[in-house]
């Protein structure tokens, strides 16, 4: 049954619809289709028999849904001595370690530079911005050599390299702390609080919503990052780098459906995190105020 309200809504929609809107809608639909198709294709491939995979790559749905492939992924997906469990473990410590160290140093640096007047403050701010902007292409070679010489290469010590305290996270936190009133700190000082107490017990809780949103974006980025492990941690393959290495080393006798089962499983944590905190994450993914 089509009632008057539906007709009115439809007429209103038609009035609002321009040619540009239709083109944009078609483009978005096509884009969304390709993204969903790609994931659906990978999911379908993960359930196929290896022979069926090669014979009917173009089809999404398998003839038989072989969920055993997911079970097999736990035993088949190996890189050197690492099985999928150790890859997950490596992904976890690297992701949480990097994000936490980076967050703590960025937040602390941003707080001090935003809230305290001291000699060298402006210089530190300029350095933090300029060092991000000047492209120094040759430093990768000496940086890599340094990591080898000081024992960061192929060691969990690599986490310390995340303690730079600068980067886009610093900029976001700096602008956030600038906007926080210092009156809370003054009130706490009257009650005898010291500077560190003010930061930890007053400022950090105020900044928590902003920090947690950025932290989640960092976790997603860290989980998906494959370069750190491939470049610097060859003995500690993460799920992302391990899947790539598995594909590289076993290209001729590779079990593609099992490989795609691993691929699908590797997406689950980030999907859960994103769906659980969708609004928070989406709100933190905005740009603006870059110039200032």
């Amino acid at each position: 049954m089509i009632n008057n309200q539906t007709i009115k809504r439809f007429t209103k929609l038609l009035k609002r619809t321009s040619v540009a809107r239709i083109i944009a809608f078609l483009f978005f639909s096509f884009y969304a289709f390709t993204m969903i198709y790609a994931l659906a294709w990978a999911f379908g491939a993960s359930l196929k028999d290896p022979v069926e995979y090669f014979l009917s790559k173009r089809k999404i749905l398998p003839q038989k849904w072989l969920f055993e492939n997911y079970k097999e992924a736990f035993s088949l997906l190996r890189v050197g001595d690492s099985n999928i469990f150790s890859m997950i473990f490596n992904s976890l410590w690297l992701t949480f370690g990097q994000a936490t160290i980076s967050m703590i140093t960025c937040s602390t640096t941003a707080f001090i530079i935003a809230k305290y007047e001291f000699k060298g403050r402006k210089l530190l701010y300029v350095i933090s911005i300029t060092s991000m902007m000047i492209p120094l292409y040759g430093s990768f070679a000496s940086g890599f050599r340094l990591y080898m010489n000081i024992g960061f290469y192929d060691s969990p010590l690599i986490l310390l390299a995340s303690a730079s305290g600068v980067g886009s996270m610093f900029l976001i936190m700096h602008s956030f702390y600038k906007g926080v009133s210092w009156e809370y700190a003054e009130a706490a000082k009257i009650d005898g609080a010291n500077e560190f107490y003010i930061y930890v017990k007053i400022m950090l809780p105020i900044a928590f919503p902003a920090i947690s949103a950025i932290y989640m974006v960092m976790l997603i980025g860290g989980w998906n990052d494959y370069t750190t492990s491939i470049y610097y941690l060859p003995s500690y393959p993460t799920l992302a780098s391990g899947l790539h290495t598995y594909k590289t080393i076993s290209s001729f006798n590779m079990n593609f459906p099992v490989y795609f089962a691993g691929i699908i499983m590797s997406c689950i944590p980030t999907f859960i995190l994103f769906i659980s905190f969708q609004e928070k994450i989406m709100n933190s993914i905005t740009i603006g105020g870059l110039k200032g």
Binding site: G138, T227, G288
Partner: protein
Amino acid sequence: MYMTELAIVPEVAQSKTIKRKNTIKKYLYIYCMLAVPIVHFLVFYVYVNFDSFMLAFIDQHTGLWSFDNFQLVFNDIGMGAASGLLSNIKNTILYFLQGLLSNILSFVFAYFIYKKVLLHKIFRFVFVIPMIVSSVVLVAIYSNILSTGGPVAVIYSFFTGKDAPAFLYDERYATGCILFFSLWTGLGMNIILFSGAMNRIPQSVIEYAKLDGVGEMKEMVFIVMPIIAPTFGTIMLLSCISVFGASGPILLFTDGMYGTSTISYWMYANVVLQSQYNYAAAFGLILTLASLPIFFLMRFLVKKLPDDIEF
């Protein structure tokens, strides 16, 4: 009077001492809090870049000062069409241009997400997929879709009547395919970013325009775009500064084979796989010097841009 002044003197001195103590305490606290990032900066930025500069002028085999590394770079570039480095530079510029195109396209399309086109909430979610899903996953799916017998090959054969080429293993198509992948996966995320910036425009500005009878396209060109222009301009200019850093997921797709290598991949291959630190440092130094004029020009242009509009 005299007695009163005498009584004040020790109090002033005492308060000065307390003030000084507080200042010392404050500075101690500030520099303790900043100790880690400062040490990090000195070691991983100042030392690393100084060492990189020195490496460029040292012969890797003899350990002696020399210009051989630069000579090698220029010899390679002098080979013209056969030069590996020139091919890397050419590909890098292609990725840079792809980045600019992605920014422009997403800037235009973001407007329609901002204007809440039909199903915009679903689209917003789908556009974030490339951020949630690792490049490793997307590359694995994309390269298998492109492979022989895959959906793309079937469509190709249907339209041309010929067998599809091995897109990612053929020099004629490989770079184009990776460029397309980079554009496609980057586009959705950029649309979200730009529509986020557009959401900061107060509704009242748009309402006023509507009252004046401004249509949708005019609103986009004459109201939304000028307001977002400083943000858009800054992003474009920042992209220009790191022109030689532009790249795609070459490592995941082809390991630099089939003419797909870029400067970033070349650096990885020379440093991590071949330990050619000095040669890489020399080429890096040349690129840094080449990009410095771009850096200063872009800095000048960023300053020329209007500040972000306050609402």
